[in-house]
């Protein structure tokens, strides 16, 4: 079990705020940290890994002290055995895929673990290749395998799928899930993709301005708050025309141009270029699959 209770001052584009988090993570649990960029998710992950130092508080893992603000004790990252998957993968360019995995082995560990991981992750064909010659998805798999080769007690994933296209993303999510169950690994993932959080995690913590705004199972967190039976999109007014007694407003929503009907009241204060919210009740939606 991991007990976290830390404080750290952060400086973001929106100004200064304090990261103040208190949480317990059970063994084998998959937790997602969800929220806007700059809310402090990655900082928490880095504090867990030992790459950054909280200002005060404590981190305890299975009763072992990893950080203690009172005695200014911090267990160095290299003694924590926390597998960290970096956003840029951080594969060592001078080593082959197999070399990267072997480098990660702990002293005394047999090479069969590398062979097992290469087999499990389907890296057989790539094992003699250098990281520079791999695609994003392949690098990702190697990075995951490398983190696992070090026999981590805790797996930390920093937006692991953000740079990948949809099909590969789904496949790798399955892979992460499989590995997490296979090794019964306590895992903390930073993400701002709802579908990914929904699919992978048992518990979500929504982090806003450095503190936990909401937490629970993905269903609890996302259905109660955001699934409100209403659609809403942010858009920009391109054009306003009169059509008999109503108005037709042309909007840019995302990169789609849509035309909607509006009442004279609604357009009274609108002009071209205004930012608007477009909302609709969800009682009559049309769902069409766009299977890739």
């Amino acid at each position: 079990m991991i007990e976290v209770d830390i404080q750290k001052k952060l400086f973001s584009a929106q100004g200064e705020f304090t990261l103040e988090l208190k949480m317990n993570i059970e063994k084998g649990e998959f937790i997602s940290l969800f929220g806007q960029s700059g809310a402090g998710k990655t900082t928490l992950l880095r504090c867990l890994a030992g790459l950054e130092k909280p200002d005060s508080g404590s981190i305890k893992v299975n009763g072992e002290r990893w950080f203690d603000g009172k005695t200014a004790f911090m267990l160095p990252a290299r003694h924590r055995r926390a597998g960290y998957m970096f956003q840029d993968y951080a594969l060592f360019p001078n080593m082959t895929v197999r070399g990267n995995l072997e480098f990660a082995l702990q002293p005394g560990a047999g090479k069969q673990r590398v062979a097992e991981l290469i087999e499990l992750m389907g890296l057989g064909e790539l094992q003699q290749r250098k990281p520079d010659t791999l695609s994003g998805g392949q690098k990702q798999r190697v990075a995951l395998a490398r983190a696992l080769a070090a026999e981590p007690k805790l797996l930390l994933l920093d937006e692991p799928f953000s740079a990948l296209d949809h099909a590969i993303r789904v496949r790798l999510q399955d892979e992460v899930m499989r590995m997490q169950r296979h090794f019964d690994l306590t895992t903390v993932m930073v993400s701002h993709d709802i579908s990914e959080v929904y699919k992978l995690s048992q518990r979500v913590m929504v982090i806003e301005q450095g503190s936990i705004a909401k937490q629970g199972t993905p269903a609890e967190v996302f259905k109660s708050g955001q699934a409100s039976g209403k659609f809403s999109f942010a858009g920009e007014v391109l054009d306003i025309e009169t059509a008999d007694v109503v108005f037709a407003v042309t909007l840019l929503v995302g990169n789609q141009v849509v035309r909607v009907i509006a009442t004279p009241d609604e357009v009274k204060n609108l002009k071209q270029g205004d930012r608007v919210m477009l909302m609709s009740k969800a009682f009559n939606p049309v769902l069409v699959s766009v299977a890739s």
């Binding site: 790459l51 990252a77 290299r78 951080a90 990660a104 983190a147």
Partner: protein, 224 residues
């Protein structure tokens, strides 16, 4: 050809010894400089770069004072280490190391600094010690910078003149390097001999630099 080859041998021996010593102290120093947060870092950076801008005679003059057996430093080195620094090969090596220091430190330091920080951090989270990270992750990934440092130090030591002139004098077999020999021959109007030394230095330096640029292009192409 009846030219005396000794100045050439001496030049290359000096360059080789200097480069070797610079590898041993310059690379760890560059590593430290790349990641340290000490307050006096700008001061150290300025000191390291001084040989780039100072006239060699300034450095040579101070080294000459320091090396003289009458100075505390020179006296200490002579009595306790048994090395005579003024007008000796050992003195030339010390001076060359100082003089070529920025040529080793600058490329290597910037090599370390341009490596993504996540590489060091990744090695850290995998439980690797600082030394393992340095030797197996950082050094192998800055090979072009290391090559540049080694070659520039070597070539720069070959091209040294002013400092050697100030502290080495012109002792055949001890401190008379090729650059000095050229000056010497010209003074005695032996243009043929001067031309011989000059041509050798010119060709060697050109070949060394050309090799580096060719190798670097190859390395870059492999990465790209």
């Amino acid at each position: 050809m009846g030219y005396d080859l000794q100045p050439l041998f001496l030049t290359f021996r000096l360059a080789a010894v200097t480069t070797l010593i610079l590898c041993l102290i310059g690379i760890p120093f560059a590593y430290w400089m790349a990641f340290t947060k000490v307050r006096i870092k700008p001061v150290l950076e300025a000191l390291v770069s001084m040989p780039l801008v100072l006239p060699p005679s300034v450095l040579g003059f101070y080294l000459l004072l320091a090396f003289s057996p009458q100075s505390a430093f020179g006296h200490f080195v002579e009595t306790y280490i048994g090395l005579k620094l003024a007008f000796s090969f050992a003195g030339l090596v010390v001076a060359s190391v100082i003089f070529s220091f920025p040529f080793m430190v600058h490329p290597v330091q910037s090599g370390f600094q341009t490596l993504p920080r996540s590489l060091t951090e990744a090695a850290c989270t995998l439980g690797k010690s600082r030394w393992q990270t340095f030797a197996r992750v950082l050094l192998p990934n800055i090979k072009p910078s290391l090559l540049a440092g080694v070659v520039l130090s070597f070539a720069h030591t070959i091209g040294e003149f002013g400092v050697v002139m100030m502290i080495g004098g012109n002792l055949p077999g001890e401190t008379k390097v090729a650059a000095i020999a050229i000056y010497d021959e010209v003074e005695s109007l032996n243009y043929d001999a001067a031309n011989f030394y000059a041509l050798v230095l010119f060709s060697v330096c050109f070949i060394i630099l050309l090799t580096v640029y060719l190798l670097n292009r190859k390395m870059l192409m492999r990465v790209g």
